[in-house]
């Protein structure tokens, strides 16, 4: 191992110049800063459209399956818990705990995505798409009977855009987490060098944080 390689593998606790953190972590925070703006635009647009055209939005409980999504929200919170426990384990040099909690995070994250896919399929089956109702569907019949708004194309497009982009982020998080988990099983992370675990953890907690806001705004309000 040459001198340069040794320098790269400095412990994460070593303070760097500038923001005071190592470069991978700073890079992730920069990325998350751009993500804050990205999701703010989506959520802001949703709120404006919702309050600007209330006749185009149904009460969430009439179309969306809130109990299932509430369970999914709980799952994502559980995955944040397992992720942070994995980080704590690697800090303590507990390799077994690191692997266990990373695998748990991958499984729970994949379950979250699966439930979201199930939700989308169920909504499509009942006739709710980004373009609005499907002609002749269950929801179209309810709309014709006056139980739902006549048109929900704005609601459909905003709902699927926001939750879809979030689901994409979770999916990418699961893919990256699988990579980190494989490296953990190869023994690449130690108590003194666990940057990969910390950086993917920041991303994972961020998607959890965004979902906390999305769930409240899209499903409960």
């Amino acid at each position: 191992m040459d001198h340069a390689e040794t320098a790269v593998m400095q412990a994460p606790s070593r303070r760097e110049i500038g923001a005071g953190v190592y470069s991978e972590k700073l890079g992730m925070w920069v990325f998350l800063g751009s993500e804050v703006l990205f999701f703010t635009v989506l959520i802001g647009s949703y709120i404006i459209l919702r309050f600007g055209s209330p006749e185009s939005f149904a009460d969430p409980g009439k179309i969306l399956n809130i109990p299932v999504t509430a369970v999914n929200t709980f799952l994502l919170i559980c995955s944040s818990m397992t992720m942070v426990k994995a980080f704590a384990c690697v800090q303590d040099g507990n390799q077994k705990g690191l692997k266990l909690f990373l695998v748990a995070t991958v499984l729970i994250g994949a379950t979250f995505v699966s439930v979201q896919v199930f939700e989308y399929l169920q909504l499509a089956h009942e006739g709710f798409l980004p373009s609005g109702y499907v002609d002749g569907s269950h929801f179209a019949e309810l709309a014709a009977a006056g139980d739902l708004p006549a048109k929900v194309n704005i609601y459909g497009s905003t709902f699927f855009t926001m939750t879809g982009f979030h689901g994409f982020h979770v999916t990418m998080g699961v893919v990256c987490m699988v990579y980190v988990t494989i490296k953990a099983f190869q023994g690449k992370y130690t108590a003194t060098d666990h940057r990969g675990v910390e950086v993917i953890g920041l991303y994972w907690h961020f998607v959890d944080l965004v979902w906390i806001l999305l769930f409240t705004i899209v499903y409960l309000m």
Binding site: A19, W29, V36, L37, A70, T73, I217, L220, M221
Partner: protein, 89 residues
């Protein structure tokens, strides 16, 4: 925060789960729509802050990183106000 004692992550988790349960409970109340929205948003922001402070460890980071992380937030306010003007005017 290497070398520090770990926060009680389980209690943070329980707090997040309980606040989510409270949100679901409040969403079913027959209060005025505005009161429900404000309460739900306050609870959601509280949960988001808990995740950022404890799970993302911002509470244990230095001030320079905290300032760096908070920097985009005024921009989000500008974005929301800019979009609001489309609706208001």
């Amino acid at each position: 925060m290497a070398g520090d004692k770990h926060p009680n992550y389980f209690m943070i988790f329980v707090g997040l789960a309980v606040l989510t349960g409270i949100e679901l409970f409040i969403a079913g109340f027959s209060w005025s729509k505005t009161l429900i929205i404000v309460t739900l948003l306050a609870l959601a922001i509280w949960k988001a802050i808990m995740v950022a402070l404890y799970f993302m460890h911002l509470r244990y980071e230095g001030n320079r990183l905290r300032i760096f992380v908070l920097a985009p937030l005024p921009l989000t306010v500008i974005i929301v106000i800019a979009v609001l003007t489309e609706y208001v005017w």
